[in-house]
Every structure is written in C-alpha cells, then in structure tokens.
Symmetry: C2
Subunit: 177 residues, 2 copies
C-alpha cells in the first residue's frame, strides 16, 4: 500500500492540497493505521499528476503562497479501485516498546516501570484522540475503523493493567539476585 495509492484513496473523498492530505493523518481518524510524510506525499502527487491519475489547479492567492489543489481523475479512481481488488499487503505492527520488554532483565526496575507508564499514556492518548473524532464519523466505514481502533487500544490497555506486575516483579527479582 504505497503513498500514491493512499493519496488516491483520500482524493476519492474530495479535493485536497498536499498539506491537507497530511493534516488528515494528524487530525482525523485516518492516522491510526496509515500514514505518510511530506517527503513522500509531494513527490507522489507530482507523479500521479504526470501519469494522469490526478489533476491540479493552482489557486494563486494574493498575499499567500500558491495552493495546489489536487482532484482525482476517472482514471485515478479506476486505478484506486483496481488496487483494492488485488490482494492487500499484510499489516505491520512495529512496537519498540514490545521489543524493549524482551530485555527487561537488562534494565533497572524503575526504567521498566517508566516504559510501561509512558506506553500506557501513549495508548490512552491515541484512544482519546480516536474517541474525539469518532463522533464526527459519518460513513459506515469510518465507524467501523473507529471501532476497530478502540478494540485494539482497549485490549492493549487491559492487558498492560492486568499483567504489568509480572514483568515488573520479575525484573525486581533479577535485580535482587
């Protein structure tokens, strides 16, 4: 699922600038399971334009930098749908926190507790952010995705709250040896 495909998908929901596409990842519910940086969005839009999958209109405003507003073309929409008909790439969930827990025995107990606290705070924040924007979810797809995210975050929080003592206690035992 490359950045070009992601941009096409977002543009099926309406015209946008590169900047606005990036904002959608930060502000709205898009961010949790897909993301892209400016460094890949702008080249992606450029290439999609060259290939005829999107069109641009440059809104030259007075006293403002140009807005390049991108619109998806019929060919772009066809291409996007075609990409959804092919087998999807697998999920990749990368978690430095989880990896770090494998090495709890190498760390002071306070650091392990600190990691757990920081991670729980991080997930609580994501859950709160999701709930904030879930209220505005109007399509069934958005509701489904919000629900999916909630289910995952709540499961993580629940697991950590009921099992953190095990890794913390074990770590203390190691330190006491």
């Amino acid at each position: 699922m490359d950045v070009r495909t992601i941009c096409l998908g977002i543009l099926t929901r309406g015209d946008a600038t590169g900047y606005e596409i990036k904002k959608l990842f930060e502000d709205d519910g898009y961010q949790h399971f897909v993301e892209a940086s400016f460094g890949s969005i702008y080249p992606a839009l450029q290439r999609l334009t060259d290939e005829g999958y999107v069109s641009v209109r440059s809104e030259t405003q007075e006293k403002r930098p140009d807005r390049k507003v991108y619109s998806i073309t019929p060919q772009g929409k066809a291409r996007f749908i075609a990409s959804l008909l092919k087998p999807l790439p697998e999920d990749r969930h990368r978690s430095p926190f989880v990896f770090a827990m494998l090495f709890a025995d190498l760390l002071p107990q306070s650091r392990v507790s600190g990691m757990l606290d920081a991670y729980i705070t991080q997930i609580e924040g994501k859950l709160a952010h999701l709930d904030e924007h879930a209220a505005a979810s109007k399509s069934e797809g958005e509701r489904f995705v919000s629900g999916f995210g909630r289910a995952v975050y709540i499961a993580i929080l629940n697991f950590l709250r009921t099992h953190r003592a095990e890794i913390e206690k074990h770590q203390a035992a190691q330190a006491a040896e």
Copy 2:
C-alpha cells in the same frame, strides 16, 4: 528503533549470523512487533563491526559458504542498554486492510466479504504461530510479549466477528441503490 539497535538486542541473547537473525524474525516469536530484511541486516552488522559494537569470527567451512558469526562486545551491550534508556519511538501499526474498509462503499459486496475473510485468516494464522512458539518461551519477557500479542489478535478477531455484518450489510445497501 533502527535495525542496528535491533541486531544488538538479539545478539545480547547469543551469537548469531545475519541469516540466523533474520530466521529469528520468521520462526520465533520476535516477528510480530519488530522485523528487518536482509537488505538492512547485513549492512547493519557491517557497520556495527566497523564501529566496534560487535565482533565477527569467520567460520570457514569446507564445502560450505563461510559463516560469519557475530558477537556483541561490551561497548555494544552498553550502547544497546543506553538506547533503551532513551525515550522509545512510538508504535506504528500500518494496516492496508483497515484503510481499505474506509472505501467499502466503492467496492462490490463480494470483495468486502473476501477482504474480511482473508484478513481474519491472516490474523488467525498469526495467533496460531504465536501460540506455537509461546510454549517455548522461557523468559518472563517472552511470556509477556506472547501475552501481549495474543491479547491484540484476539481483540481483532472478536471485533471482526461481531461487527463484520455492519460493513457488509451497509455495502449491500449501497450496491442496491
């Protein structure tokens, strides 16, 4: 959490070749929340060697390609632990499936059902794989990580089984319009 740090972590558990490090991601429980390809592992080990964080001994076998067995040095272990004391990068969970669900209304109902089936199968496979290797988990860290993975996968399966009808039914309604 770059590939060099990941390699150092794995080498704290024992010597290994680049090939064996990669195998750990595929076969053992490591794979679920961290991964790396050959294209990044070999250059990482090369650079770690140059920087003195690992050492190599080349086991020149007869009738076999050389095995380059890497060992972590005291400086390497110190560096790894230091990296765990700094704030960890956030999780990134990329899911083409979840993104695709946002566009269910653009797809035939059969494709949405097919995506759901394929995704459920994928997650069931990961859960089975995790359970297979969870039995061999000897450290508390490994048990914790296995438990974490199970909690996430089970939450996903539970959500999909109880909510898939909503996105499928909605999709059917769209198609009927």
